[in-house]
């Protein structure tokens, strides 16, 4: 049996006394694309932050390839795990190339804050996100979608085998959403990267993920291949949504078609 890429082992997570998960255990297998889904506020980002050691569990451990992340230096983790947070700050007066170059930080040393290899990796990351023509533009002048792709390029330049993406498709139009998710699959196929992401679009999640984890009320509601997870029963519990699940004619993956509620139940009685 191969060692899991990431394990959250009986972790308790929360913010300022407000607990989101208690004793949660989740394993991520290497070389897979896993997507966390669930209603707003169910803890998708919380779990992702814990995997990315942005949030320290109050109990339990997070292991990266078997080693507790707390025992690794910040830089050692960064060479093996990259994370795209949900709301990064946009720096002033910075070109796309300079921004993406910052992804090379964990590979650089004090006397060599730059190398030809860094430049090559950056160019590659920029090319694979389709940003080559915009490489010398100021990030302040980019559209929302372009900026999002620049962030993804930064994470790709980090060249880590495990990549965590918090809502990588926000701000993107449908074709760019598809582009990003295809890119994710490509990286996974080409480099065997392990990818964990948070997505909101269930059909896209089903279409591009090997595994879906549905989070609900402080625990895992369903976990497995798309067809095992995306069922009307799970959707009803996790989202309070009545929906049909049918096979997507293009991909053969589950496609979620929401139903209109019957008129007399239109206003939820709360």
């Amino acid at each position: 049996m191969t060692m899991p890429a990431l394990v959250a082992d009986r972790v308790t997570l929360g913010y300022d006394g407000h607990v989101v998960f208690t004793g949660l255990t989740v394993q991520i297998e290497p070389g897979t694309v896993t997507t966390l889904i669930g209603a707003n506020g169910c803890g998708k980002s919380t779990l992702l932050k814990a995997f990315g050691r942005l949030l320290a569990p109050s109990s339990g451990v997070v292991r990266l390839e078997g080693t507790p992340v707390r025992q690794l230096s910040a830089r050692a983790v960064a060479r093996r795990l990259a994370i795209l947070p949900q709301k990064p700050l946009t720096p002033a007066a910075t070109t796309v190339r300079d921004l993406v170059m910052r992804g090379r930080h964990p590979h650089q040393t004090l006397l060599r804050p730059w190398s030809a290899e860094d430049a090559a990796k950056v160019a590659e990351a920029i090319a694979s996100t389709g940003m080559t023509e915009l490489a010398d533009r100021d990030v302040g002048s980019l559209s929302g979608g372009q900026l999002q792709r620049a962030w993804i390029a930064l994470v790709l330049a980090q060249d880590a085998p495990v990549i965590l993406l918090d809502e990588p498709t926000t701000f993107l139009d449908l074709s760019h959403q598809l582009e990003v998710l295809r890119l994710v699959r490509q990286i996974n196929a080409r480099q065997g990267s392990t990818i964990v992401m948070v997505l909101h679009d269930l059909s896209l999640a089903a279409r591009y993920s090997d595994r879906l984890i549905v989070l609900h009320e402080g625990g895992v509601l369903a976990d497995g291949a798309p067809w095992d997870v995306i069922t009307p029963a799970v959707l009803a519990t996790a989202f309070g949504l009545e929906a049909l699940v049918m096979a997507d004619p293009a991909s053969g993956r589950p496609l979620v078609v929401p139903l209109e509620p019957a008129p007399d139940t239109a206003v939820p009685a709360i």
Partner: protein, 351 residues
């Protein structure tokens, strides 16, 4: 690839930023120039050539005395104060991501001022505590006050790590308390003591000697390399704490190190020359506009600080003839220049 991206010298490889390099070199040349002029100018006139031959050990004995005993300490102190404050300002503005944040906000300056004023006012008044403080010498008391205040600010800001926003707010509170104390002592003091304390509080290079220059040089020799090791984390810090952590920065350790460097630099400058205000705010802002970099460049900010302080000091001596504290002249020179840069910069962007 049309644009040169970096230079690789084997052990060392650096990204190639032509504008930053030229501006930095330009500032360095300017520092040397003003430095030379500062030594040459004065009641006993010397030529620029005389200055350098004397500095290199080949001048007459009279010039030797004037240069090494009288003018060099002051010029060197001006440069060192400018370097310390410029660098400290660049570090503070960068890690806090706020151009209005100067090292004063970390409590150093107000702590040093409170220490010095306590020593002057109470010491001058003849109380035993104050007298023994005064016996330590104002620079030492100011240093102790500054470091204590900064430690208090950092300690009070700690809540599962130090958040830079909280740190700034706590710093404002501590600065206010110390400022209140200082003002109270000034109001209660006799006019002569108040004048002495006010004089100290605007910052001046008139009283410096080699004894106040050496500590600054030692601090600079240690602090500059340490500051340069933080270049990359400072860049990444502009993306927010989460992204920095993700890219392998130990955020809390980095922040503590940057704060300590800024505090020690400021404290060294303040204990030598008093709180020379405004340099730490203006030098990084000017340097950033000149180099057009996303954040204040460290070395260039330090050099701009040095140019500003030495120019102000020399300018005050040459133009006014009297001893006007350097802290005043830095603002009179620096503020209009910064305003001009702001208006020019914005117009260019619009077109």
């Amino acid at each position: 690839m049309s644009r040169r991206q970096g230079i690789d010298l084997g052990v060392i490889a650096l990204p190639w930023r032509a504008r930053v390099l030229w501006i930095t070199l330009g500032c360095a040349v300017l520092v040397l120039g003003v430095f030379t002029f500062g030594i040459a100018a004065g009641s006993a006139r010397m030529g620029v050539g005389d200055v350098w031959t004397t500095l290199l050990g080949a001048g007459s004995r009279t010039f030797g005395f004037i240069v090494f005993e009288l003018r060099l300490p002051r010029a060197a102190a001006g440069i060192a104060v400018g370097l310390c404050l410029g660098l400290a300002g660049a570090l503070t503005q960068t890690f806090s991501r706020n151009p209005l944040a100067t090292p004063d906000i970390l409590g150093v300056t107000s702590g040093a001022a409170a220490g010095a004023v306590v020593a002057i006012v109470i010491g001058g008044g003849g109380y035993s505590v104050g007298a023994s403080l005064l016996g330590l010498g104002i620079p030492v008391v100011a240093t102790i006050g500054g470091l204590l205040a900064a430690a208090v600010v950092y300690g009070l800001s700690w809540r599962q790590g130090v958040d830079s926003f909280r740190l700034i707010l706590i710093g404002i509170g501590v600065t206010a308390i110390l400022g209140g104390l200082t003002n109270f002592l000034l109001v209660r003091a006799q006019l002569t003591q108040a004048t002495a304390a006010t004089q100290w509080m605007v910052g001046s290079l008139s009283g410096v000697s080699w004894a106040s220059v050496w500590p600054m040089l030692v601090v600079l020799a240690v602090a500059v390399p340490f500051a340069l090791t933080q270049t990359a984390p400072l860049d990444l810090g502009q993306l927010g704490d989460d992204f920095s952590t993700g890219l392998g920065v130990a955020v809390q350790r980095h922040r503590l190190l940057v704060i300590v460097i800024a505090v020690v630099l400021t404290s060294a400058a303040v204990s030598a020359a008093g709180p020379v205000e405004f340099v730490a705010f203006v030098a990084p802002q000017v340097a950033r506009r000149l180099t057009r970099t996303p954040r204040p460049p460290l070395i260039a900010s330090a050099l701009v600080g040095a140019v500003l302080v030495v120019t102000a000091d020399v300018g005050a001596r040459v133009a006014f003839g009297t001893e006007i504290p350097v802290g005043i002249v830095t603002a009179i020179i620096g503020a209009p220049y910064l305003i001009w840069l702001i208006t020019r910069h914005n117009r260019k962007e619009r077109r």
